[in-house]
Assembly symmetry: D2
Homo-oligomer: 371 residues x 4
Amino acid sequence: MPSTWGKIFKVTTFGESHGISVGVVIEGIPAGFPVDMEKIQKELDRRKPGQSSITTSRQESDQVKIVSGIFEGKTIGTSLAMIVDNKDHRSEDYEKLRHVFRPSHADYTYHAKYGHRSHVGGGRASVRETIARVAAGALAKQILEQELGIVTIAWVDSVGDIFANITQNFPNSIEEVDQNIVRCPDSKMAELMEERIREVRKSGDSIGGTVRAVCKNVPPGLGDPVYDKLEADIGKALLSIPACKGVEFGSGFEGTKLTGSAHNDEFYVEKETNQIRTKTNRSGGIQGGISNGETIMVRAAFKPTATISQEQATVNDTPEEVTTKVGGRHDPCVLPRAVPIVEAAIHLVLMDAYLYQRALNPSWHQKWKKE
Amino acid sequence: MPSTWGKIFKVTTFGESHGISVGVVIEGIPAGFPVDMEKIQKELDRRKPGQSSITTSRQESDQVKIVSGIFEGKTIGTSLAMIVDNKDHRSEDYEKLRHVFRPSHADYTYHAKYGHRSHVGGGRASVRETIARVAAGALAKQILEQELGIVTIAWVDSVGDIFANITQNFPNSIEEVDQNIVRCPDSKMAELMEERIREVRKSGDSIGGTVRAVCKNVPPGLGDPVYDKLEADIGKALLSIPACKGVEFGSGFEGTKLTGSAHNDEFYVEKETNQIRTKTNRSGGIQGGISNGETIMVRAAFKPTATISQEQATVNDTPEEVTTKVGGRHDPCVLPRAVPIVEAAIHLVLMDAYLYQRALNPSWHQKWKKE
Amino acid sequence: MPSTWGKIFKVTTFGESHGISVGVVIEGIPAGFPVDMEKIQKELDRRKPGQSSITTSRQESDQVKIVSGIFEGKTIGTSLAMIVDNKDHRSEDYEKLRHVFRPSHADYTYHAKYGHRSHVGGGRASVRETIARVAAGALAKQILEQELGIVTIAWVDSVGDIFANITQNFPNSIEEVDQNIVRCPDSKMAELMEERIREVRKSGDSIGGTVRAVCKNVPPGLGDPVYDKLEADIGKALLSIPACKGVEFGSGFEGTKLTGSAHNDEFYVEKETNQIRTKTNRSGGIQGGISNGETIMVRAAFKPTATISQEQATVNDTPEEVTTKVGGRHDPCVLPRAVPIVEAAIHLVLMDAYLYQRALNPSWHQKWKKE
Amino acid sequence: MPSTWGKIFKVTTFGESHGISVGVVIEGIPAGFPVDMEKIQKELDRRKPGQSSITTSRQESDQVKIVSGIFEGKTIGTSLAMIVDNKDHRSEDYEKLRHVFRPSHADYTYHAKYGHRSHVGGGRASVRETIARVAAGALAKQILEQELGIVTIAWVDSVGDIFANITQNFPNSIEEVDQNIVRCPDSKMAELMEERIREVRKSGDSIGGTVRAVCKNVPPGLGDPVYDKLEADIGKALLSIPACKGVEFGSGFEGTKLTGSAHNDEFYVEKETNQIRTKTNRSGGIQGGISNGETIMVRAAFKPTATISQEQATVNDTPEEVTTKVGGRHDPCVLPRAVPIVEAAIHLVLMDAYLYQRALNPSWHQKWKKE
């Protein structure tokens, strides 16, 4: 199972849900960068289970531990490993799932692919794997912020059919997003969303939704056509998050209904800065696979959590048809916890694109790096 | 500019729109496979410009030439190169675009990223680059078909706001799709789509749309979590096609509105084959990032062609605000030609996932390979 | 700092000499393989410091801990992480080296490359990094042995100018090699070597030497021309071991003095097996970059340990010329401990080549795999 | 068959000896670099067959053709393809080798690995494949020279047991090397070498030898521990050249006989430049896998050409024992033509290491790049 992301800023992850630990090794880190461990921990806290009354009740402190790559507070250019231990795993809860495949889970496909698998807690398919990405992304975020001033903010845009009403007034900070436990900056809709989540949990069910994200202050020039276009890499990063089934950039699926004359983003010259800008942003900040200096805009679809506590028809590995009623603890809605994961995924893509661009075009770097 | 796709079945491409040739080098091809060159040419013909009255009038025969990797009709395991020459390029048409950035094109972002660029015909950002993928994908298709029986069929599902009405009766062959020039198997809606395309062309405009694709007979077990999930890799492959701005799998964005109990695909045991199957297919044939044996279902959004012949406000590289009216030849709607490109992209992903799975699990291969 | 080896069986390592731990993450492991942890520990024991009176006196038990990738004793195909904690580090010994570059060490080059570095214990340049390779190689060894019957044996062939006299009677097991602490199966010369090592240690000096290795039962067909020829990949693996400055295969440097008629290995058909064999083995088991079924033969040169306790002229980072006398503990001769590292390096190469070949040629695998 | 070299400056090659063409695609080229095509052709001329009376008589002009990646004389950052056509191939010469394996060639191993192979002219195992590396290396050379002032010079150091006497007075230019057809700057020994080559050719035989190379003006800081140490990557690059069976750096195998006190390179501060230098250079310009600013020194062993025109015992693919007498044209000694290949291999490694270092450490680049 390949578990590596990136060409230069390379992230390799490991760890099953109910093993000892999950962790990440990062190669390609510039030396001399002062790492703020508290900021990394903060992102893990935003992701961790049990953080609010609408997430799973599994209790994990998810304290991150640095194993290598830092000396006297700064990176030394070597591979940096971070580890988070698993604590509140109750493997015994899963014994009855040893031979049964939960519907819409990865149980059956892992069985078909690998033969031998861990049936406890989803093993490697568990969302605990995303700890590793969030930790790595939190490091990338620090570097991108310091070097280029990039700010990425994601939020819950819909839960079920309840949509936030945020079209232009994008949030300016993750604090705005975190002001409610749903992580939706439209506080009015957030209330309805929260209610909906409590409702489905009560009925032993779950619900899907969408996350939107924006990246501000991305200079023009990041992203590498042909195959590594920025949409392609961000799209892959998001689609590799458990439960994500769709992504769209800028005008996305709706934009396909327009004509070119209605859809094209006309350029103009911004007076104050003499920068080339676009009047509209249907491209979502990316043209030809490369950032164009406008805000990057992306939306990701998350299906309802597959784990529900209602009885369902399924099969076992004999195979025979059986019914199953899954106990254990789970999120009635993954969306609030998906927010920091989406941000981390985007940071990993931007960081790798940034280092690649730095390798190929030092004068671009001279022009765009912050003082 | 990285131009490589894949881990084992590795595809590296080259060529600008108005250079001598475009081409592809493929590493990781099993030896002894009898290549049907006519079938490769056929896919290129489905992609080529000037193929019908609703595509660009640029005339290119796009004849493919094998340079290496085949001996006496069969692959020899070495890197296989295919080249297609550019013939009908009229570089002079582009002189007035030397300093002007066309709206929603890659002109400005290439300038910002690379400094020095080719302004003729979009250079490497041109859709001519996709010749290379289509040729490589056509080879992958042959191998996948012979070894596993996989059949991939894409079609135009919408043009502007005109949608085909195809929910369950998916086409069974590319011939069904190719029966009209729009490549939409719903012949009634295809007529309306064709009309719409002629309309926008007449007004010097363009129009977007969506492509759907299904892959049949994919055995359970292809796709590699964590980062290389099948949705992630197919998503990346599609999002790297010029003009693609969104993808969704199975129930996609609509599915996010459902509850888990309504969305989960229950398993059952198929009597005749004793295979594990799902009653519904909201997962789109992929669970936990791995194929589950059901039909893979994906949809891709293509924005309207950026090139239109109406006058538009834009800027030059001074930068100054100017207007531009692009001559040259272009597709009023990329969708019909996108169909074989989408199929090729999917084939490249499946082929690579197949070889990786073959490396790791020979008994899986024994079980699923065709006689 | 890239720290990854391999294309399919991918090994990523981390850890500085005086950090918390060193470790390795392995991707691309076949699922269902029963891992013998004792055998992995045994290889680490052969590598560990303080194992005999002629190695460094640093005391480390180097107990390996599995963090992921194994469930109920067998691999599950997920990334497998192993960690070894550092215990007996005395960072305070190194304070006086904070600004001083030890001659022929990596101190100055790390400083020039990274700016900020760990001056304690060589940081990432320490031979402690090889723990990770030895652990990963020990896993590869088990798989190669079970699947193909491959046996790799390395030994100390020279210490200084004292050479073992082993030309044809290669050792048949690592036990033969381990019968003395020098790890030279020519017991007579081993005594002289041991004496020489004690001598240089006494004078605060060190000494170089060579390791030879043979791989038996490698089927014909492993190794991937063009760039990933078996000599190229094994050569790289060995040259990446600290202190290794040269490698040669088969007849090596001496063979360059011969004519083709004297050097070529003539083929014959082995009666009992009907296998194609060579009468001589000047090719060292590799032709055209691919194993030919004969014993693979390689030799590696290790320079004398750079750390000596005599006073030496050097510079600091001002830069100023100073003298230094290194305390700390170190190996007077790296050769005995290099033996398991060389074996591990070779196993990693063969394992990756094996999986790649399995991906591309399943019928080769059917032919050569052990029952 | 993987045919790719490099992490950022990625070189992918294709082409069999008797196919239509051989070629190379290079990704990761900085944009805006003015390519001197004559200099690339010059390196190919130094490599081409038939260039002198002591090389093979196959006549190939080896004219290189640029297919992509350059616009108006400068690179545009896109993948750059170069192609050289094969002209003087006489495939009919090889018909009798369809089923026979030439001793010490790649015929048998390709057969064992791939099953189906090209028996004409060695197919992909032919030295014609090196055209691609030489072309790519010649481009890397131009960039390295302009950006860092690096100069790499290789020469023939021995033919059979005739050794040049060049210890300190390394040649200063490739013109010094090219002053005789053997490419040995010790003109006295060059005469003896040439005589020896004519002698073995006359007797239908061949002879081996060694090439040495030096790289001057390499700033400290290139090369990436752990696995991608500069010795490891250069070693791999050289060992992947056909017929190369060994490499050594600096003091190499001889250095293993020394003690640390005799071998260590003491540092001093160079007055004029205030640079840190070493008094001796037994490290061969590389410490800890990273360049230290001294001249890089490497030696490569080339076995005698396997193709000889004397009758030899061998086997066919039945298998049966037969004799073979190879006609065709071949080099009695590959060494003179190996010189530009060795230089190209080293340039590819340095170029990739340079771009990686540029990505990770922009201030290093500011310090070391030429005005």
